[in-house]
């Protein structure tokens, strides 16, 4: 993890990061405009016309910071520990996920088609849920380590998540959406070896990752 952080820091020294942040506040610096009708259609193999990408989201809540607060606190005062909201997350991990796996038997769902989007904490707190139920047919897409919306430093978050993958004993190339990116996040992710992300949903086709300044 420390080696990964050092690599990112060397590639993006603080002075350069500051300059880039300032320059790339303009969306066109990141994403050149291109209308979908001006591009040739993408052609799938063997006459297929559509790809279904199934993503099963595994999220592990914390007492102090639950990702979704479905049950509003009385009087609007968020209580910590937030036991009621943590509890319904936990119910999903214990009961809801089992509904998915039982359904997968003998259905289209059972094909090698799915991605699990798991926060790294899931791997640590619920290791059995982070295991792929039937071997290699589930590809893993990671999200933020704590499934939260706070940005505490992309380099640290990515390095921490990637280090935790070792606990899952699996490989992963992508990150899910909702990363709450800063202006520099795409550069950090590229440096950390992330190949695809679920953020930047601005096109039906797969645009190249938001580019760095001066790069296509």
């Amino acid at each position: 993890m420390m080696r990964q952080l050092a690599k990112v820091s060397r590639r993006f020294p603080p002075s350069q990061r500051t300059l880039e942040s300032r320059a790339q506040t303009i969306p066109r610096d990141r994403a050149l405009y291109s209308a979908i009708v001006d591009r040739p259609p993408l052609v799938l193999p063997d006459g297929h016309c559509i790809v279904v990408w199934t993503i099963v989201n595994l999220e592990c809540g914390h007492f102090a910071a639950v990702a979704r607060q479905v049950l509003p606190a009385p009087g609007g005062q968020v209580m910590i520990p937030d036991v009621p909201n943590w509890a319904w997350h936990e119910y999903g991990m214990r009961v809801g996920f089992c509904g998915f796996t039982s359904y997968t038997v003998g259905s289209a769902f059972a094909r090698p088609c799915r991605s699990t989007r798991a926060c790294a904490s899931t791997i640590h707190a619920s290791p059995k849920r982070a295991e792929t139920p039937d071997g290699n047919s589930w590809a893993t897409v990671r999200t933020r380590p704590d499934s939260q919306g706070r940005t505490t430093g992309d380099d640290r978050a990515v390095a921490r998540t990637r280090s935790k993958r070792l606990l899952a004993n699996g490989r992963w190339d992508g990150l899910g959406p909702g990363l709450t990116e800063t202006y520099d996040t795409p550069d950090y992710l590229t440096a950390a070896g992330i190949k695809y992300i679920g953020d930047w949903v601005y096109d039906d086709e797969r645009p190249r990752s938001p580019r760095r300044m001066g790069h296509s």
């Binding site: 809801g96 088609c113 190249r208």
Partner: protein
């Protein structure tokens, strides 16, 4: 690279944020997938289906997710790929210079 991950089919935004009925996910996903099939030859050709065990996996909601996949199974020409497979296809065709 970015892979389209829409909010329209996401059970969190559909059912938890917007507080809709249990069947909303099935209706929206079935309609959306049908529209994508119609449009696919000249445009969109991937359809993300994000779902969350804490929502769609609930015993009283899982049947609606099953219905979505039963609906998709009616169509021919549908591939079921994960993110890595979509990425590999796209990168490979890019290297070959295919359109």
């Amino acid at each position: 690279m970015t892979l389209p991950y829409t909010v329209e089919n996401n059970d969190i935004t559909m059912m938890i944020v917007q507080h809709t009925r249990r069947s909303t996910g099935r209706r929206n996903a079935s309609t959306h997938s049908t529209d994508c099939m119609r449009k696919a030859p000249g445009g969109q050709n991937s359809w993300p289906s994000p779902s969350t065990p804490i929502i769609s996996g609930q015993p009283f909601r899982i049947k609606y997710l099953e219905a979505v996949y039963a609906h998709i199974a009616q169509f021919s020409g549908v591939l079921h790929w994960n993110g890595e497979q979509i990425l590999n296809w796209y990168v490979t065709r890019d290297k070959r210079g295919e359109q």
